[in-house]
C-alpha cells in the first residue's frame, strides 16, 4: 500500500521529465504521439539567431555572477567558520535572498536600478544574480569547512607559510568539493532564474528562461521542448557529477 503510493509519487515526479525528452525527438509539430523520431527541433534550435544570442547572454550572466559569488562567498564562509558565534545571525541575512519569494527582490531592484539609471547594461542583472547565488556558495563551502580542522591553518602558519599560501595549499584542497558544488548550484540557479531577469533585462540582455517563456505563451513549438530537454540533461549530468550524498546534505540545511 505504502509502496504502491510511493512509487506513484516517484513516477509522478519523473513522468514530465521523460515526456519532455521523448517529445523533443518527436517529429510532429502539434505534440501528437506516434510519429517518427527526428532531431529537427534541435537543428532548428541551433540555427535560430534569437536562441543563440539568448544562450550567449545566459551563459555570460551565469558565469560572471558565479565568479563574483565565489569571490565574495568563499571568504565569507571562511570568516563564518572562524567566528561561529555570529553564524546564525549572518546566515539569516545571507539566506534571505533565496528564502523570500524572488518577486519581492525583483520589484525592489526594479525601482532601485531605474533610480540609479542602471537599466541599460547587464551590470544590474549580474549584481542581482550574484546576490541570489551567494547563499548557495556560502552554504556549501561552510558545510565542507565544518569538517576542516582549523589547527591545520595554525600549524601551516607556524611553519612559515603566508596566509595566502596556507589557503592555496592547505585549506583549498580540502574544501574544493564544497566550492565546486557551490559554483555548480549558483550557475544553475542563475541560468534558470526568471522573475528578476524579467524585470531587469532589456531587449539586448534577454536570457534563455525569458525567451522560453515568451515562446511558450505565443506559439508553442517543439523547439521549446528541445531546449527544455537540453537543460534537463545538463542538470542530469551535473547531478551525476557531484556526489549525490553530498547534495542531499546541502538541500536540507
Amino acid at each position: 500500500m505504502l509502496k504502491f503510493f510511493s512509487y506513484n509519487v516517484f513516477c509522478f515526479l519523473l513522468l514530465p521529465i521523460i515526456v519532455v525528452i521523448y517529445m523533443s525527438f518527436n517529429s510532429n509539430a502539434y505534440f501528437m504521439l506516434g510519429n517518427d523520431l527526428s532531431i529537427q527541433w534541435y537543428k532548428e534550435l541551433f540555427t535560430t539567431p534569437v536562441w543563440i544570442s539568448t544562450f550567449k547572454n545566459s551563459l555570460m550572466l551565469a558565469t560572471v555572477s558565479t565568479f563574483f559569488s565565489l569571490l565574495i562567498g568563499i571568504p565569507a564562509a571562511l570568516w563564518l567558520r572562524i567566528n561561529s558565534k555570529y553564524e546564525s545571525m549572518i546566515m539569516s541575512l545571507v539566506l534571505s535572498p533565496i528564502i523570500i519569494p524572488p518577486i519581492i527582490a525583483a520589484i525592489g531592484w526594479f525601482f532601485f536600478y531605474s533610480k540609479l539609471n542602471m537599466n541599460n547594461s547587464m551590470v544590474n542583472m549580474v549584481l542581482s544574480h550574484t546576490i541570489l547565488s551567494i547563499p548557495f556558495v556560502v552554504i556549501s563551502v561552510l558545510t565542507s569547512l565544518k569538517q576542516y580542522n582549523l589547527s591545520l591553518t595554525k600549524s601551516s602558519l607556524l611553519c612559515g607559510a603566508s596566509q595566502f599560501e596556507t589557503f592555496m595549499y592547505i585549506t583549498f584542497p580540502q574544501i574544493k568539493l564544497g566550492i565546486f558544488t557551490g559554483a555548480l548550484l549558483s550557475f544553475m540557479n542563475s541560468f534558470d532564474e526568471f522573475i528578476v531577469a524579467m524585470f531587469l533585462s532589456n531587449h539586448n540582455t534577454r536570457t534563455v528562461p525569458l525567451q522560453l517563456w515568451s515562446s511558450m505563451r505565443e506559439n508553442i513549438s517543439p523547439v521549446v521542448l528541445a531546449i527544455a530537454s537540453i537543460l534537463i540533461m545538463v542538470s542530469f549530468v551535473f547531478l551525476l557529477l557531484s556526489n549525490t550524498k553530498y547534495f542531499r546534505g546541502i538541500n536540507v540545511e
Binding site: 516517484f10 515526479l13 519532455v20 528564502i99 527582490a105 532601485f112 511558450m216 505563451r217 551535473f238 536540507v252
Partner: protein, 358 residues
C-alpha cells in the same frame, strides 16, 4: 581580526539587497504621482492658493495625461472627467471655480477635490487602504485567494510527502534507493521552466493526457487554465521541497524507539501517534513553512497553467507594474507579501534554533 573577509558580503547585501527592499517598502507609502503630473495643483494645495486655477493650468500641460488612469482608481469616473476637461481646456475663464462647476456637475463634489488633496501628500496609506479597506475589493480577494490556495496546496503536498519520505527510509536495497532519491532530486535540480513545459505538453487541451483519455473512449477534460492546473503544477514543483526535509528528520530516528513503543504495549496507531510522529514533527513544520513561503510567491506556475484570470498575488503585482503602471499599489502588494514572508521566516528560524538548543 580578519574581518575584511566578511565585509564584501555585508557591503554587497547591504547596498544591493537591503536598500532596494527598504526603498520598495518606502515607495509603497510615498506618493509622487500628483506631484510629477500636476505640479501646480500640488503646490496650490500646500500653499493654500487657488486650486482651481492651478488645476486648469496643469491640465493645459501635456504632462498631465499621465495621471488620469491612476486617479481613476481612487475616484471612479475621474478618468473621463479629466479627459473631457482637457479637451475643452480653452473655454475656461476666471473665476475658474465657477466655470469648472458649470462645465461639469462632478466638480461640485468635494470628494473629488479631497481625493486630489490626499493624493498630494507625500506620505500616504492610500495603497494599503485600497487593499484592506473593503473585503470584497479585487486586491483583498487576490490576497485571500493566494493564502487560501497556498494553504490547500501546502497541505496536499505535505500529506503526499510524509508517506513517501517514510518509504524512502525503509528501502534497504542500495540501487533501488538511489533510483528513488534520484527521482526526487532530479526534478529539484531541473530548470523550472523545463518542468512547466512538460506540464504544458501533458495538460493542454490536445495534450498527451487528453489524447490518452480520448483514445480509451472518454470525453476530454479541462486540465489547465483552471485551479486544477495550478494544483498539479504547484504540487509537482513543491514535492521535492517537502520530501527532503521530512526525509532527513526521519532518517535520524532510530528503529529502537519504534520497537520500544511496541514492547511497551502500544498498537501501531498509538506508536505512530505518541512516538514516531512527535519526532518527525519538526521536519513537517519546516516543510510546511518552506512550501508555503514558496507557494505564495508563485508567478510562473499560475500564470501558465492557471489561465488568464490572475489568481495569485505575484500575477497581480506584475500586472500592476507592467499594464496599469500603478506602481504604488504594486509596491504595497509586494510589501504585504514581504511582511507575511518575514513573519514565517521568523517562525522558521525560531523553530530551528529551538531544536539545536534542545
Amino acid at each position: 581580526m580578519k574581518n575584511f573577509l566578511i565585509y564584501p558580503l555585508l557591503l554587497l547585501l547591504g547596498i544591493f539587497f537591503v536598500i532596494p527592499i527598504g526603498n520598495m517598502l518606502l515607495y509603497s507609502v510615498y506618493n509622487t504621482k500628483v506631484e510629477t503630473h500636476l505640479p501646480k495643483t500640488a503646490n496650490a494645495f500646500k500653499e493654500n492658493k487657488d486650486v482651481y486655477e492651478a488645476y486648469v493650468l496643469d491640465l493645459k500641460d501635456e504632462n498631465s495625461i499621465g495621471i488620469v488612469n491612476y486617479l481613476n482608481h481612487y475616484y471612479s469616473g475621474s478618468r473621463g472627467l479629466i479627459l473631457k476637461t482637457r479637451n475643452n481646456i480653452e473655454q475656461f475663464q476666471p473665476p475658474y471655480k465657477q466655470s469648472l462647476e458649470e462645465f461639469d456637475e462632478r466638480y461640485k463634489d468635494s470628494k473629488f477635490w479631497s481625493m486630489l488633496e490626499n493624493e498630494t501628500h507625500a506620505f500616504t496609506l492610500e495603497n494599503y487602504k485600497m487593499i484592506f479597506s473593503q473585503f470584497d475589493s479585487v486586491y483583498f480577494q487576490i490576497l485571500y485567494q493566494t493564502i487560501y490556495l497556498g494553504i490547500c496546496i501546502t497541505c496536499i503536498t505535505v500529506l503526499i510527502s510524509y508517506p513517501t519520505a517514510y518509504y524512502l527510509t525503509t528501502i534497504k536495497n542500495r540501487w533501488l534507493f538511489l533510483i528513488c532519491i534520484f527521482s526526487v532530486l532530479l526534478p529539484f535540480f531541473t530548470s523550472y521552466l523545463s518542468r512547466l513545459v512538460a506540464w504544458l505538453v501533458l495538460l493542454q487541451n490536445n495534450g498527451l493526457i487528453n489524447q490518452f483519455i480520448e483514445y480509451i473512449g472518454l470525453s476530454k477534460i479541462a486540465l489547465m487554465n483552471n485551479t486544477l492546473g495550478i494544483f498539479i503544477g504547484s504540487i509537482y514543483v513543491l514535492l521535492p521541497l517537502a520530501i527532503l526535509p521530512i526525509y532527513t528528520t526521519m532518517k535520524k530516528i532510530k528503529n529502537e524507539y519504534y520497537k520500544t513503543g511496541q514492547i511497551l504495549g502500544g498498537n501501531k496507531i498509538q506508536v505512530f501517534r505518541y512516538v514516531y510522529f512527535p519526532m518527525t514533527a519538526i521536519g513537517v513544520y519546516n516543510a510546511v513553512i518552506l512550501v508555503f513561503m514558496s507557494v505564495i510567491g508563485f508567478y510562473l506556475t499560475p500564470a501558465l497553467l492557471g489561465g488568464s484570470k490572475g489568481k495569485f498575488i505575484a500575477e497581480q503585482i506584475v500586472y500592476n507594474i507592467e499594464q496599469t503602471l500603478n506602481w504604488g499599489l504594486a509596491t504595497a502588494l509586494t510589501s504585504t507579501l514581504f511582511f507575511i514572508v518575514m513573519l514565517l521566516f521568523g517562525v522558521y528560524t525560531k523553530l530551528n534554533r529551538g531544536i539545536i538548543h534542545a
